[in-house]
């Protein structure tokens, strides 16, 4: 199957031949990267062009990172900054769910459970026992891992749809438990969670938390990348493409699925802990099925398995309902319409693993007569990059 096809991995097209894909996924490193760099063996691209491209990319990257870093200084106002923080929080959750849904291909409808575990552990330890926030994170991770193992071990052998219901049930159970128990504050939740202290610094402002979560996002992205290009990541991708072939290739599928679930739980729990600190108070309604769906939505809109897609999806899912405030009570109606449109018109997500499709856009332009099209076509011929139409 051609790499440039628009059908994303994991398509349940009955009767399609997936075994070849499965084997290839297990063996190859990231396909788009290899292709884009022209490493597939054609003549070396024009070296000046390549250098310019490299410099330009580096500049763009640095510019983007610098822009993200100085955003607090540009005086955007609290409204924009608090949305930015929420986007970052969702990005972190998305990167966590990415291990489960994106890499290992397991449908998880209860991811908010780990978010809740992190938030409540931190809330309880910091408010009742006066622990500093940072100190509450390891126990929260421990609790989340326990939960992941407890739920995962008996159920991860289920088919994905059954797993979906079990994870949904797990999410509901956690929410019910924290709503009903006095120790977790009941329906009122926990309030008065202290701010984060790092060294001598106390984080109290929106800008401060923006930076904290920005660091978290970058760390999570880095970890996701490293894992993706490691044996663990490749094993997950193989499982996602075709479980049975992966098993036949010697990958212990159940164990790796558990690892994915555990990895997701760690990310979710850390995010939950810091969320509690940023929002001072936590209450059960924030940790239910709706939240789990929000994360799944962001992953799907962005592109399953794609790190950049996930980040973009998080941005869309948080920003759009806010942008739609101009529609007052109809804002979620508009959001629903936009959601359906995005999914129907671009089901693989806005930025799937196979790339933004900019190269195809360029090819499209190249077909037109005129200097611009010919220039692009000439450059591509020189670079020796081939495409299947």
């Amino acid at each position: 199957m051609a790499n440039g096809s628009s059908s994303p991995p994991g398509t349940s097209d009955i009767g399609s031949d997936v075994s070849a894909r499965g084997i290839r996924a297990a063996a190859e490193p990231s396909r788009p990267a290899a292709r884009r760099a022209g490493a597939s063996g054609g003549p070396r691209p024009d070296s000046r062009l390549a250098t310019m491209a490299r410099n330009r990319s580096a500049l763009i990257v640095l510019a983007a990172l610098a822009a993200a870093a100085i955003l607090p200084e540009t005086g955007q106002g609290n409204y924009v900054m608090s949305i930015a923080v929420q986007i970052e929080i969702l990005m972190c959750l998305v990167l966590g769910l990415n291990f489960v849904v994106g890499y290992a291909g397991m449908l998880d409808l209860g991811f908010a459970a780990f978010f809740a575990i992190g938030a409540y552990m931190t809330g309880l330890l910091s408010v009742d026992l006066h622990w500093p926030i940072l100190a509450t994170i390891p126990p929260a991770i421990g609790a989340a891992l326990l939960g992941a193992v407890f739920v995962g071990l008996p159920t991860l052998r289920l088919r994905s749809d059954y797993l979906a219901v079990v994870t949904l049930g797990f999410g509901e159970i956690i929410q019910e438990v924290v709503t009903n128990l006095n120790q977790t504050g009941g329906p009122e939740g926990i309030s008065g969670i202290p701010p984060l202290r790092i060294g001598g610094l106390v984080v109290t402002t929106n800008d401060g938390y923006y930076n904290v979560f920005l660091v978290l996002v970058l760390v999570f992205v880095a970890v996701s990348f490293r894992v993706r290009h490691s044996r663990l990541g490749r094993a997950w991708l193989a499982i996602r493409e075709d479980e049975d072939t992966a098993q036949a290739m010697g990958i212990k599928v159940r164990r790796f699925k558990l690892y994915a679930y555990m990895a997701g739980s760690v990310f979710g729990s850390i995010t939950g802990s810091l969320y509690g600190s940023a929002f001072i108070a936590i209450a059960p309604p924030s940790f239910g099925f709706n939240e789990s769906l929000l994360v799944v939505m962001a992953v799907s809109i962005g592109g399953i398995g794609s790190i950049w897609g996930g980040l973009l999806g998080a941005g869309i899912v948080v920003a759009f309902p806010e942008v739609f405030r101009q529609f007052a009570q109809a804002r979620l109606l508009v959001f629903g319409v936009v959601l359906v449109l995005i999914m129907v018109l671009r089901p693989q997500g806005v930025w799937p693993e196979s790339g933004l499709g900019l190269d195809r856009a360029a090819r499209f332009v190249a077909r037109f007569p005129g200097r611009r099209g010919e220039a692009i076509a000439a450059r591509r011929r020189a670079a020796g990059v081939e495409r299947t139409p």
């Binding site: 059908s7 994303p8 991995p9 994991g10 398509t11 349940s12 097209d13 009955i14 009767g15 997936v18 075994s19 849904v101 449908l107 008996p154 159920t155 052998r157 289920l158 088919r159 749809d161 059954y162 979906a164 219901v165 079990v166 949904l168 049930g169 797990f170 509901e172 159970i173 019910e176 438990v177 709503t179 009903n180 075709d242 479980e243 049975d244 072939t245 099925f289 769906l293 799944v296 939505m297 992953v299 799907s300 809109i301 399953i304 009570q329 109809a330 979620l332 109606l333 959001f335 629903g336 319409v337 936009v338 959601l339 359906v340 999914m343 129907v344 089901p347 693989q348 997500g349």
Partner: protein, 303 residues
């Protein structure tokens, strides 16, 4: 635990289970044929309820129940539910037929948002809890000092009849065979000369019609409708369908009954706040023992 206490709970569970079963069968059929968890299904139920509210409200005069009206409005609602389901299938799911299932699910979520917030933004409806125009009488009979109404009995009977009819269609007619063929292997079925698109639409129609029937019955019994009424019941119906073995009509029906009983008995034993947990716990246990649900078949995956 005395029988006196558990028995009424079981009966109550059977009653609740009848509704769940109706909706679960629709969920299950759509899942069987498309592998899609149609999150919008609960909202088909809600939209149908509002349609029946509008129509019944227009024709109802006074407080005496005109059962003739109820019946034909019920049929109209079933058709409306079916039509809505088919429209959504044609407009949203069919263009996405080659996409990953997760994308279809998110599109279903979008449809759910559209239906819910669409009703929310209709001025005279909004977020109100609207009283149903028809209130059935509450005369009935008593069993072991618990009073049941004829309406309740009637609802259960109609639900059973509908489910049996669907079961018969799916398992004992050519149409049903076609449906099961499409569910098993869409490509091969097309090669056999069957118009799979039409079959899929038909399945959606049946699912929507069942949801419409459930909507009228629930509205009659509970007496009020609200724009969020589909959300919780949709979730429960999905759980029931999985519990019983997704893709199987009988499984969904049994799953619905079981879930209703589990919730009721759970409420009786542990209190209402733990009922859902109890139900989910039982679900996990069931799936552990029978990973494909109570009546599910081991569907092999092609390599």
């Amino acid at each position: 635990m005395s029988w006196n206490v558990v028995f009424p709970d079981i009966v109550a569970g059977l009653f609740l289970g009848a509704f769940l079963a109706l909706i679960a069968v629709g969920y299950s059929m759509v899942y069987g044929i498309l592998r899609l968890i149609n999150f919008a299904h609960g909202d088909f139920y809600m939209a149908a309820a509002f349609v029946s509210y509008a129509v019944l409200g227009a024709v109802t005069v006074g407080t005496k129940v005109n059962w003739g009206n109820v019946i034909w409005v019920g049929l109209v609602t079933m058709i409306a539910g079916g039509v809505l389901a088919v429209c959504v299938e044609r407009l949203v799911y069919r263009p996405m037929s080659r996409a990953a299932i997760l994308s279809l699910m998110i599109a279903a979520l979008g449809v759910s948002q559209i239906l819910e917030n669409g009703v929310l933004n209709i001025p005279s409806w909004g977020s109100n809890y609207l009283p149903y125009p028809v209130t059935p009488p509450s005369n009935g009979f008593s069993v072991a000092s618990v009073h049941y109404t004829w309406t309740q009995l009637g609802i259960v009977v109609i639900a059973v009849v509908l489910i049996v009819a669907v079961y018969w269609i799916v398992n004992h007619t050519m149409l049903g065979t076609a449906m099961r063929a499409v569910a098993q292997d869409r490509a091969a079925t097309t090669l056999m000369g069957i118009n799979t698109d039409r079959i899929i639409s038909l399945v959606f129609f049946i699912g929507g019609a069942l949801a419409g029937a459930a909507a009228v019955m629930a509205s009659l019994y509970y007496g009020q409708i609200n724009y969020l009424m589909g959300f919780s019941i949709g979730l429960q119906a999905f759980t029931a369908a999985v519990l019983g073995g997704i893709g199987s009509v009988a499984g969904a029906a049994i799953g619905g009954l079981m879930l209703g009983i589990l919730e009721s008995v759970g409420t009786g034993l542990f209190g209402a706040q733990w009922a859902l947990m109890f139900a989910f716990g039982a679900l996990v246990l069931t799936l552990w023992v029978r990973p494909t649900g109570l009546l599910g078949e081991r569907v092999g995956q092609r390599v």
